[in-house]
Every structure is written in structure tokens, then in C-alpha cells.
Amino acid sequence: FSDWDDIPPSSALEVISEEEAVQIIAEPLLPIQSSTLRDYVDHSETLAKLVHLGVDLSQVEKRQKAGQLLLTLDFEKDVKKILLFLKDVGVEDNQLGPFLTKNPYILGEDLEALETRVAYLKSKKFGKSEIAQMVSRAPYLLLFSVERLDNRLGFFKNELGLSVKKTKDLVIRLPRLLTGKIEPVKENLQVCQIELGFQRNEIQQIVCKTPKILTASKKRLKQTFDYLHNIMGIPHHMLTRFPQVFNSKLLRIRERHMFLAFLGRAQYDPAQPSYISLDQLVSLPDEVFCTEIAKASMQDFENFLKTL
């Protein structure tokens, strides 16, 4: 044979020596289809590096098409620049893992689009740390187009009748308002106005102090209000002063109120002596509530609870 091309290729059925056979490494093939990323994680640089960042793949693979997306991405070409972008926006290093677990889709976004959206927020005078906070707490925020973000901000400003500054403060405190559904928020506002009977300015005050009321369950809101207003006798203006009471568990409010009523200490009118504020009623831990407010022991409280 004078030329390499003239050498015929070896036949697969050709007999080979023992030494040659031992040297062949035949790893099992990667499955073409799988329902879990577990099968691919040892062979994908992208997946392995994400795990090391703190991404929980067992959660990611539950999301629609997220696992598929991650497998098609190349770490050096696609993923790295998004990670650097997120760090630049201000997402903390130890938050990257949890962030990507909730929103793996951002790794497939166009970098320019993401930068345009951040630029929009800056143009609305949101500060760098504020943007970082919003992005970290509402991981889907930067998936929304500028137009959609703008509409959302406009909605809150108009529906609530708030100033530009107050609207910004609202979404900084609860950035979920920008990414969540809008219908439930509208319904909650209706409930506050029509069913609970709060005035518009009272609703403004409540929303600015406890934004969560806009995303709370309507049923819970109504039940809590019913107990506070109709059974405990708390008037609207007091509820406007202490709206955090709506975030509290109804069970806690009921048990503590009944205990105070049992002891003859259920006094919620600031004009009267031995006044107990709603804030003290719900936010103090059990031990402090018992000793300071109810002036009884934890044991007394537990014994009372067993009689309910």
C-alpha cells in the first residue's frame, strides 16, 4: 500500500486481540429522552456549573420546557453573559442560585432586551439598589417588555390615585405587583371599597402601609374584617391606622381576643384606659403577649386554648 487512502477500513466483525478489546471504552449512551435532568447532569458543563451556583435542578425540571432550555444552552457562549448581567444589576452572588431556580428562562433571553428594560426602570428614576431589590424579589420582572411594565405602573397610579413617588414605593416594596395577574388586584380593591366599606383615601393609606392586601385572598380578607369589625367592634379608622392586622392569621386574632375577653382586658379604644393597640395584639410573640398584654402566664393561655 503506497497511500493512506488505499488502506481499506477495518471491518466491525474483524477479530481483534484481547489487549485491543480491553482498551475499548464503551460508555452507556445518553438517553435521547428523559423526564429528569439527573440523566444529563454529569455530561453537561452548563448543568454542572449551575448546580455549583446553587440552582436546584429538581425544581427547575418541574417547570415547563425549562430543563430543555438549559440543555440547549452553552455555558461560555450563552449563560455566562446573562450571569454577569445579573450581577451587574445587583443580584447578590449567593442569590443567583435561588433566582435561577425560580426563573431559569432568563438564561435564554436576549441580552439587549434585558438591558433596555433596566434602562427603562432607570429612566423612571428607580435607583440602582431599588432595581436590584425588585429584580431579586420578583425574578420574572425582567422578562416583561418595557410596554408591559409601563402599563402596569400606570394602572397602579390611576386605580389607587397615588402620586408617582408613592406608586414607585409601592412596587419597590412589593415588586410582585408588577409581575402577577392584575384581575385579582382589581377584585381586592372592589372588596375593600364595596364590601368592607373603606373610603378611597383609607384604601390609599392601607395599601401604602401594607401592600400585601392587594394580593391577599379575598375570602380571608372578608373573614378577618368581619371578625375585627363586627365581633371585636373595631371601627374603620382604627383598621386604617393598623392595617398590618389584615396580614395576621385570623386564628391568632380570635384566640388572643377571646383570651383577653375572658380576662376582661379586651379594650381597643385609645380614649379609654388600659388600651390595647391592634399592633400589640397581633405582632407580639406569644410569651410577650401573655406577660405584657394579657398579664397572664403562657400556661394560662394554653389552658384557655384547650377550652375552646
Binding site: L37, R38, V41, D42, A48, K49, V51, H52, L53, G54, V55, D56, L57, S58, Q59, D93, N94, L96, G97, P98, L251, D286, M298, E302, L305, K306, T307, L308
Partner: protein
């Protein structure tokens, strides 16, 4: 060796740990949490409007629950009632059916009705226990308090008395077997009728389920691993004792 040296340390592992040789599929971040199921069973039912002692079993405790169920032990309830109205579901939150006067009701009259109820139930108890009261065997069992229906039976009240009486409110203590809380509410309704008035049930609270009492029960503030473990330990002896007694 797959050298995955990155600047940021993983949140799960400790910094400074050398990357593992071989597969990383074993990490929790890939597989998810290790334990997903705990076998928990519930004892005698307690409906939504009722409160009180509710027994749960974990793991082997589920078998003990079944054994205890087959002991047919009594349960004790504190039942609150209110004279003056009747509702469609016998409770104070039901739809009003009628309103009546109640000033003619006295504690003595109420206690007389309770005595009648106890009497009729005593007869039912003996009937369903399949015991001939004239035998020595029956006497011995009665002394030990072991006369109980050991199979299915309709609800039976083994004791009923008045704890408090302040018109229109009253409170009863009821010892019973094979009951439902709704049955107890019906009893309140029927007491109202017997007293030529009407009554609704305002509270049904179980204070004892077999060997388990309110003192054994954990309030919500103690629903944590340590308290639960302690509670299981504290009740172990009396559960064993009761099972031995009945199986003997």
C-alpha cells in the same frame, strides 16, 4: 476527575471542599429532598364545628389506633346548649326553624330528662353488649367497668349530667360510644323538645377519647417534633395497659 473550579462556592456545600470525583447527581440540588412521605393516621373523627381531643398515629401507632378502636372505649364531651330556638342542623349556626319561650325550664326539670336519657341508654348498652344481667359473669364485668358493646352499635350514652345551668344557656357532660358529634347536637335538640321548648347546640368539645385526655393533648403552640415525641412517650404505658386489659 471532573474539575469544576468556579469562583462562587455552592450554597449547599462547604467552601474549601474539593470537588467530588465522579457523579454529582447525588446532591440534593439535583435529586430533590430525600424523604417525602410520613404515614400518619387519624383516630375517631371530629367534625368541622367540633373541637377537642383528636388522636393521631404515626407509623406503628396506626396499628395501635386500630387496636384501640376495637376496644370500644368511651369518649367524653362537653356540650353547650342554648334554649329558645331550633335550627335545621341543630347547631347555633343553622337556619332558624322556630323560636320558643324557655322561662318555665328549671335545672330540676332538665336533670329529670337527663336521667330518663341515661336510663334508656343503659338498656341499649346491655342489649348490645350481649350480656345476661342475671349471671355472675355479668356482675363481674360490670364491676370492672367492662360492659361495652364489642361490635357495631348505634350511638350509646353511658353517662350524662348537667355541668352548668344559666338560662338560656346550659352545659352538659356526655360520656358515649359509637357517637358522631352531629348525634350529640341532635340530643340537645331533643332535650329542648322534651322540656316543651327548643334548643340548639352551641359547642361540642371532646375532653377525652379512650385513654387520651385534654391534659395529654398538645395545643397548636406545641406542634413541634420534641413535644410530639414527648407526648407519644407519656401515653405509651397507658395505651399498652388498656390494650392488655381488653384483650385479656
Amino acid at each position: 476527575q471532573r474539575g469544576l473550579a468556579l469562583g462562587t462556592p455552592a450554597t449547599g456545600g462547604s467552601p474549601g471542599q474539593a470537588p467530588r470525583t465522579g457523579s454529582i447527581t447525588v446532591s440534593v440540588a439535583v435529586r430533590g429532598p430525600r424523604f417525602r412521605k410520613l404515614k400518619i393516621g387519624a383516630g375517631h373523627r371530629l367534625d368541622v364545628k367540633a373541637s377537642g381531643v383528636f388522636v393521631l398515629g404515626i407509623g406503628h401507632g396506626n396499628k395501635l389506633l386500630t387496636d384501640l378502636y376495637n376496644c370500644h372505649l368511651t369518649k367524653v364531651y362537653t356540650v353547650g346548649g342554648l334554649f329558645g330556638k331550633a335550627t335545621d342542623d341543630f347547631s347555633d349556626t343553622g337556619n332558624l326553624v322556630e323560636k320558643t319561650t324557655f322561662d318555665h325550664i328549671t335545672r330540676e326539670k332538665l336533670e329529670r330528662i337527663l336521667a330518663v336519657i341515661q336510663g334508656t341508654n343503659q338498656k341499649a348498652l346491655l342489649m348490645y353488649s350481649n350480656i345476661d344481667m342475671k349471671t355472675q359473669e355479668a356482675y363481674e364485668l360490670a364491676v370492672k367497668g367492662l360492659i361495652r358493646p364489642m361490635g357495631k352499635s348505634p350511638p350509646i350514652i353511658t353517662a350524662i349530667r348537667c355541668l352548668q345551668f344559666a338560662l338560656p344557656e346550659f352545659q352538659l357532660e356526655i360520656h358515649c360510644l359509637h357517637e358522631t358529634q352531629q348525634y350529640l347536637r341532635k340530643v340537645v335538640h331533643e332535650i329542648g323538645l322534651e322540656l316543651k321548648s327548643s334548643a340548639v347546640c352551641t359547642q361540642v368539645r371532646r375532653t377525652r377519647d379512650g385513654v387520651f385526655t385534654v391534659d395529654d393533648a398538645l395545643p397548636r403552640t406545641q406542634w413541634n417534633l420534641r413535644s410530639i415525641q414527648e407526648a407519644i412517650r407519656n401515653c405509651q404505658l397507658k395505651v399498652e395497659t388498656e390494650l392488655e386489659k381488653t384483650l385479656a
